[in-house]
Amino acid sequence: MNYLVDEKGFYGDFGGAFIPEMLHANIEELRNHYMGIIYDPDFQDEMQDLLKNYVGRPSPLYHAKRMSKHFGTTIYLKREDLNHTGAHKINNTIGQILLAQKLGKKRIIAETGAGQHGVATATVCALMGLECIVYMGEVDIARQAPNVSRMRMLGAEVRPATSGSKTLKDATNEAIRDWINNPTDTHYIIGSVVGPHPYPDMVARFQAIISKEMRWQLKEQTGSELPDIIIACVGGGSNAAGAYYHYLDEPDVRLIAVEAAGLGIHSGESAATSVLGSKGIIHGSRTLLMQTDDGQIVEPYSISAGLDYPGIGPMHAHLIDSGRAEAVSVTDDEALDSAFLVTRLEGIIPALESAHAFAAMDKIKYNADDTVVINLSGRGDKDLSTYIKKLDQA
């Protein structure tokens, strides 16, 4: 089976570009040019240089010995938390800012939920001297103040999204509207493998460096490029897309997609889209999303602001639907416990999103002689206030 996008922009029945005519010209421009630009040798040279010398790639693949002992198998951590700005998000923004320059765009817009993608976008805009506007839900601005300050220090304008539920999905709507209103000079840097084609494919290609490095790093450390299991958390799904990318056609490698169950899958406060969602259209893409019987998009919940997106990228919808990836869901409490376990076993404070991936170890079957790679998508500095609350309760 083909797990990558087809020539019409679909992953099986998922994907496509369900966009108003006002966006057609923008999307068409991207669709016609993105592959040619990305695979131009000069573009690749420039991007690889920045990824190496600015971002700090390759990110280490770390054999977590104490964790391995704890779980009774062999566990490696892909250390995306060690990238500049503290998460995998910058892999994509580096690629897209270079692309925007090639397209001659002068103005950059982005959406952000927790603020990680906003910071990664503001960072590359500062690096390139481009105007940057980040849309962020009013609710998220209040609960992610440090990242708002970082974006401002980097010179970005943070515009509150005051419509709807005032969170990530609304920030995305506002960014799309900005793009409709500014069709010629603006590039929209989407932060995940969501949105209309070609975004899911383009973002996956920029994140694919994660699994590209994993292959040679595993070969170096274990003698084989192939692990038995790859675990990654999925909100929209960009870190998972990157961690899976070069293993999609290796059927012996199990792909585990960890969703946020919030207070529990059936609590009414959850973001476990593959379980609670149904097929529909969100942000220009046909995928699985959480909605009411009347087709109104539901506001999801998770303790992790990076996982509370009401949809998942169309590639993941297809991977889960076709059985290529297994979806697992993890509650707030399980993720918090996991964050403390990893911190105390390995001296690494993970982002709450990544903590969900670790918690999946308690949910899946594995063998003692397996090699498991967990994608440590980001560091936990931004979640300290949540962690401290948990410490104070203990």
Binding site: G16, A17, F18, I19, P20, E21, M22, H24, A25, T162, S163, G164, K169, D170, N173, I176, R177, I180, N181, N182, P183, S278, K279, G280, I281, I282, H283, G284, Q291, T292, D293, D294, G295, Q296, I297
Partner: protein
């Protein structure tokens, strides 16, 4: 014959198409607003199906949709409200909403509901012409409903011709690169775009929408098309007059038309 076609045969200019959000400002205003718009002199009505994430719309229409959803408006309720509408009025009625709403309701069931209620056409802004052609054309065209597509100043001539070939009823000419309710007035650049499209000899008539808010912009738009569409300005007016919806509707239409005739 479809009521939209009848209208364009009978009337060649100054067609006034008014949009309102079903369930706004009050859940049960739908029939009152339709009848009053008709009596006051509107030629066509777009009934907005309120949606949580209306990507092509501005804050005015989104907020009216949120209010309507909070009021309890659903597609089932809307069909129920409209079941006897054709005993009251023969004005052409369109539904405007997003593809996800149709999908969840069920495309077949939705189209049956539309024909049963006497709806004449659909505007689904996030259904691009290409996907319409490959996935929904047989069903929608087979139902007798017209599908109305948008074009913008960025839409290429080839694409306009493709849209003209597939569209029915009329073409919705978006006046500028914008969401609904964002900009007001009509610039020289826009009139050049209108003239360019007019010179293409399309089979479908055109209505201009986005940025039309009063008698003056309506008049200007009518110089370059068969008529115009007003949405956000009417929603704002209703929002300011929630307890006198009937009077507010009448005075709004009269304001657009009376002044335009003077």
């Amino acid at each position: 014959m479809n009521r939209i076609d009848q209208l364009f045969q009978a009337k060649k200019d100054h067609i006034l198409n008014i949009y309102f959000t079903a369930g706004f400002p009050n859940l049960d205003d739908t029939v009152t607003i339709i009848k009053t718009l008709d009596h006051a002199g509107a030629d066509m009505i777009e009934i907005g199906m309120p949606y949580s994430d209306p990507m092509a719309d501005g804050p005015t229409i989104q907020e009216s949709g949120s209010k309507a959803i909070a009021n309890g408006m659903t597609l089932s309720t809307l069909f129920q409200q409209l079941k006897d509408i054709r005993k009251e009025t023969q004005i052409p009625l369109l539904f405007m909403g997003y593809l996800n709403q149709m999908m969840q309701y069920g495309v077949d069931k939705f189209l049956q509901g539309c024909t049963a209620a006497g709806i004449d056409g659909l505007i689904i802004p996030d259904l691009p012409v290409d996907i319409y052609e490959s996935e929904l054309k047989d069903k929608i065209a087979g139902s007798g409903l017209h599908i109305i597509f948008l074009i913008t100043p960025q839409t290429s001539e080839d694409r306009i011709r493709k849209i003209d070939a597939l569209a029915g009823g009329f073409i919705y000419m978006v006046s500028s690169a914008s969401i609904t309710g964002a900009k007001s007035g009509i610039s020289d650049e826009q009139t050049k775009y209108f003239e360019r499209v007019n010179a293409m000899n399309l089979k479908n008539p055109r209505l201009i929408g986005f940025g039309i808010s009063n008698h003056q912009t309506f008049e200007t738009a009518c110089q370059y098309a068969d008529g115009a569409i007003i949405g956000s300005a009417f929603i704002r007016h209703l929002g300011q007059n929630q307890n006198r919806v009937q009077e507010a509707t009448r005075e709004f239409v009269e304001g657009i038309l009376e002044k335009s005739e003077a």
